[in-house]
Symmetry: C2
Subunit: 133 residues, 2 copies
């Protein structure tokens, strides 16, 4: 029984659709450029929408790329625990995994140190099977 999501605002929808249709990570400024024809003029319009979309878990931020990507979980179930991003440096393809073993171990180590985890980032850089040597 989850509360129904309030609708996205116009700007939030535009930003989300841009990311969802790209199916790949985009920087905030790339999103801005793609939305200029829809009236976007300034970075803050993008960043504000991104912040709200992040809060709702509809998108993710890839820290190692300074870029954003639509969540690959179509049904918007909450993300419990760490998300693992597998990023090909050659073709730019990104895959999102959730791994219970990694998540459990992260939490085990955090508890050991009495560390309260607010967010966990796992990003793998390398080459996907299609780009292998």
């Amino acid at each position: 029984m989850t509360a129904p999501l309030p609708n996205l605002t116009k700007n939030q929808s535009l930003v989300f659709e841009t990311l969802a249709e790209a199916g790949a990570p985009l920087s905030a400024y790339t999103i801005l450029d793609q939305l200029r024809e829809h009236g976007f003029r300034a970075p803050l319009q993008v960043y504000r929408a991104l912040d709200k979309l992040l809060e709702r878990g509809l998108i993710h931020r890839l820290e190692s790329l300074n870029a954003f990507v639509a969540c690959q979980h179509k049904h918007s179930h909450g993300h419990q625990g760490a998300t693992v991003f597998v990023i090909c440096g050659t073709c730019g393809d990104v895959n999102e995994l959730h791994d219970q073993v990694i998540n459990d171990q992260i939490m085990r180590r955090a508890v050991e140190q009495k560390f309260q985890v607010e967010s966990a980032m796992v990003e793998l850089r390398g080459r996907c099977s299609g780009c292998a040597d």
Copy 2:
């Protein structure tokens, strides 16, 4: 039998010492400011030194902070596998862990996808025991 490390250059040493003495993450521009009295004038002097220190594993880059930190392994043994950084958002304290379970599982999942891992980053953000509510 590891080959002896060639000595660091003057700039590399200055940057490394700055990070080692700070014992905390510093941005490239913070390092630059601290080294102005030693003749540093431009960001590139810092970034070039950081690149070399990263190559040798003497320092790490914290992707979620856009900052750099000296490796906490005093003996400069190679880092095999994922390094886990535990970062307190309140006091800024950073701890570096190496966890075989996390590393093994990352590699297991990568192999499943035929993904060749070049680097793996795990960063936990939250509150350390000293900063708990």
